[in-house]
Symmetry: C2
Subunit: 409 residues, 2 copies
C-alpha cells in the first residue's frame, strides 16, 4: 500500500496554456486500459530532458537524446505504457521513429519535432500495429485538462497516479506548473527516473531551461531508490510553453531563474517522493540524511548503501530496530578512511549509536517506537566535513517479491 | 530450502592431526543450543586469515588482525554464535580480549596466541558471563573428531551445516584438509566471508600460507553474494598444523605449493557455494559467468550487477525468463564504454539476446525450460577482451523477507 499518498483530485491539477494532452486505450499490453498518451505543444514551446545512464538504454531514449541534441523545436510527445521498447535493437529504433512520424502526420508537424517515451516490459518488440491504430484516437482526445488521465495512462505497477500542480509569481506574473511521473520498481535513477514530465507556462530560454532541468533532476529523482535497479528508460522532461507573459528568463544568475528553478525542483521532489511512497510493496517511507561528510558524493554513497541494503529494508518492514544492519551498511559504503568511532547514528530524534557502539542512553523501546511510524528519518552524522545529502527510499516487503515474481503474468 | 545441499555425513569429515575441537551450549542467545567452539592447535601450527573490508568491522576481527600482523604463534581459536560483537565500541574489544585470555588460561598458553570470532546480531554487547562460564566445558570437550559438531555450533540462520574434507598427495605424502563455514544472509564478502575455516596437516611456511589464503579467498568467498550486504564479521582462516610429514612448502612457485593451493581453493569454493545454496530463502542456485571483458574487475562488476539485482533475483524465484532485467543490470553495471550491440546473453546453452535485442531464434519456451531447473547458468559474452569472472548467487524469495523481518524475534 502506498505510504501517505493519495491521488491529487483532478480539479486541483491545472492546465498549462500551450500544452494539450490526449489519451486512449490502444491495447498495447492489455485491452481496455488507457496506455497511450500524446502531448501536443504550441509553437514556441521549449523542452529539455535528462535520461538514464544505463548503457542498455531504450530506443526512445536514444531518439529523444538525438532530437534534443540537434536542437529541434519540439511540438509533441508520445508515451506508451505496457512495453519499454528496450533491448529491441535496430527494430526498436525504427519503431520509435515510426510512432513519431505518425504523430507528426496527424498533428501536421515535422517528425523530428516529436519525442517518444515507452515504459513496461523489456526485451519484447513494441506492438506497432496496435500503437499506430491507437494514435488517431489519442490525437482526437487532445485537450488542456487531461493531466489526471495522462498520469493514469503512463502507470505500470504504480498503484496511485502521481501528478501535482503549483504556482509561483515571477516578475509580477503568475507562473503555473503541472507535473506527472510514473515508476514503482526498477527505481534507482541515475540522471532521472522512469518517466517524469513537468510543464510550465513560463517563458525561459533553452540554455536556462536545460540548466534548470539538470538541477531539478539531481535534487529529486536522482535522490531516490526503490530496489537499486537503474532502469533502461528513465526520462525526465521539462516543458516551458512561454505563455505566462513573463519576460523570458535567460540569466541563470537572476532572481527569476532562481524562483522558477525552486518551483520546478519542489514539484520534481514531490513527484520523486511519490514514486517512493508508491514503491513496489512499500509500507514505509524512509528519509536517509547523511551530514558532516567531506563531499556530497561520499554522503550520497553512505545514504545509498543504507537505502539499498535488503537487510535494512526488511528490518524497516518488520518495524524491528535491528540497527546494527545500518552500521554494517555505513561500514561497507566504500569510504576507505571512515572513522566509525566518530560518527553518530540517529533514528528520528533518538541517538542510537556513537563511539563505535550503542549509545549509552539508548533503549530498545525508543527505537521500536520510531520504527512503528509509516515515515522514518535515519540520520547519520559523519563528523568529518560540511557536506550533506538526502536520499528517499521505502522498505522491502513480501509484496515486493510477489509483485516482481508475478510481473508479466 | 537449501539448493542441492545436504549435510556431509560425520564419518566423511576427517580429523586433522594437531587440531582439536570442543563445543558447548553456553546459552549466548538461546539456551540449550551449541553456540561456543574452541579449536586448540598443537605447537608449530601456522595460521593465516583474511577479513572483512567493512569499516564497521567487529571487535574480534580487529583483535585477529592485530595478533596475526604481530606474528604471534596461534594456539587456539574461540568462536561464538548468537552475537557478532560488532558495533560494540571499546567494550567489545575488551570482551573479545577477555574471552581469549580465559581460553589461554584454560589451555595454558599465551593470551596473544588466541584468536576470537563472533557471529550473530550486531550492536548488542557480548554476554560475557555466559560465554566465560561456558569455556571450561568447551575445553573439556576438545577432540580431533568434532568438525561436524563445530560446523553446527557456528550456524546462525543457516539451515545446513557446511563442512567437507579432502585429501591431496604432495611430494609422496597424503595431505588432509577439512573446512567448515557458516553464513546465509548479509553475504557479499569483500576479502572473505562470515566465518570460514580450513585446516590442513600440510607443512607450509607462513608467507606461503598467507599467499595461499588470499588466493583461495579471492577465488571462492569473494565470488559469492546472497543479498549484497558485506558483513562486519567476515573472516576466513587457514590453519596448517604441519603434521603430514611433507617437506615444508615455502616456494610459492613450486608444484607442491600449486597442488596445495588448488586443494584449499577447491575446498573453499565448495564451502562458499554451500553458503549460497543455503542462502536465506534460496530456492535456486545461479552461476553468473561473464567472459570477454577487458579486465577481471569489469567482468566481476557486470556479474555482481546481475547477481545483486532484486529484479533479476525475483524473476529467478518465479522461474520467469524476464530476461530484460538481466540486460538492464548489465547496462547499469558502470562500464562507460560498453557497446551493448556486441554482447551476447545466454541462459544455459540458449542464446537469448544479441545485437542489442532478443536473439532471432529465441523462443520464450526455451528460456522457461532453463529457468525451471534449481541450478541455472547465466553467461554474458562481452566481446571486448580476454578476461572473465564467475559469481555465484541465489534467488530472492518470500522467505528471504520472512527470515529477515523475523530475525532477532
Amino acid at each position: 500500500m502506498p505510504v501517505n499518498l493519495t491521488p491529487t483530485p483532478p480539479e486541483r491539477l491545472r492546465a498549462i496554456a500551450g500544452a494539450r494532452l490526449g489519451i486512449t486505450a490502444a491495447g498495447i499490453k492489455k485491452p481496455g486500459r488507457p496506455d497511450l498518451t500524446v502531448i501536443a505543444l504550441d509553437p514556441g514551446s521549449r523542452v529539455a530532458g535528462v535520461f538514464t545512464q544505463n548503457r542498455f538504454c531504450a530506443a526512445p531514449v536514444t531518439v529523444c537524446r538525438e532530437r534534443l541534441a540537434q536542437g529541434h523545436a519540439i511540438r509533441a510527445l508520445v508515451i506508451n505504457t505496457g512495453n519499454a521498447n528496450a533491448g529491441t535493437g535496430s527494430q526498436g529504433l525504427a519503431d520509435a521513429r515510426r510512432a513519431c512520424a505518425e504523430v507528426a502526420r496527424l498533428l501536421k508537424c515535422d517528425e523530428q519535432a516529436v519525442l517518444p517515451f515507452s515504459t513496461g516490459v523489456i526485451l519484447e518488440p513494441l506492438p506497432m500495429d496496435r500503437l499506430l491504430a491507437g494514435l488517431p484516437a489519442a490525437v482526437a482526445d487532445l485537450a488542456p485538462d487531461r493531466w489526471d488521465k495522462a498520469a493514469q495512462a503512463i502507470m505500470t505497477t504504480d498503484i496511485v497516479p502521481k501528478a501535482r500542480s503549483a504556482t509561483v509569481t515571477i516578475d509580477g506574473h503568475t507562473i503555473t506548473l503541472t507535473g506527472m511521473a510514473k515508476g514503482s520498481g526498477m527505481i534507482h535513477p541515475n540522471m532521472a527516473t522512469m518517466l517524469g514530465f513537468i510543464a510550465t507556462d513560463a517563458a525561459i530560454g533553452q540554455a536556462a531551461l536545460e540548466a534548470l532541468t539538470r538541477f531539478a533532476a539531481d535534487e529529486s529523482f536522482n535522490c531516490i531508490t526503490v530496489d537499486g535497479d537503474t532502469s533502461t528508460n528513465d526520462s525526465f522532461i521539462c516543458i516551458a510553453t512561454g505563455r505566462a507573459g513573463n519576460p523570458e528568463i535567460t540569466d541563470t544568475a537572476s532572481a527569476a531563474f532562481a524562483a522558477l528553478r525552486e518551483a520546478v525542483t519542489q514539484l520534481a521532489r514531490w513527484l520523486a517522493q511519490a514514486i517512493v511512497r508508491d514503491g513496489e510493496g512499500a509500507t514505509k517511507f524512509m528519509t536517509i540524511q547523511v551530514n558532516g561528510g567531506k563531499s556530497r558524493a561520499e554522503c550520497r554513497q553512505v545514504a545509498y548503501a543504507i537505502a539499498r541494503s535488503p537487510l535494512v529494508k526488511t528490518a524497516f518492514f518488520a518495524s524491528d530496530p535491528n540497527l546494527g544492519r545500518i552500521l554494517a551498511a555505513i561500514g561497507y559504503a566504500g569510504i576507505e578512511d571512515l572513522d566509525v568511532n566518530r560518527l553518530r547514528l540517529y533514528l528520528g530524534d533518538v541517538l542510537v549509536a556513537e563511539q563505535g557502539g550503542r549509545a549509552a542512553g539508548y533503549r530498545e523501546e525508543q527505537g521500536a517506537a520510531v520504527m512503528q511510524a509509516p515515515e522514518i528519518l535515519v540520520r547519520v552524522e559523519l563528523e568529518r566535513g560540511d557536506a550533506c545529502a538526502t536520499v528517499w527510499t521505502c522498505d522491502f516487503s513480501y509484496d515486493y517479491v510477489r509483485i516482481n515474481a508475478e510481473y508479466r503474468s
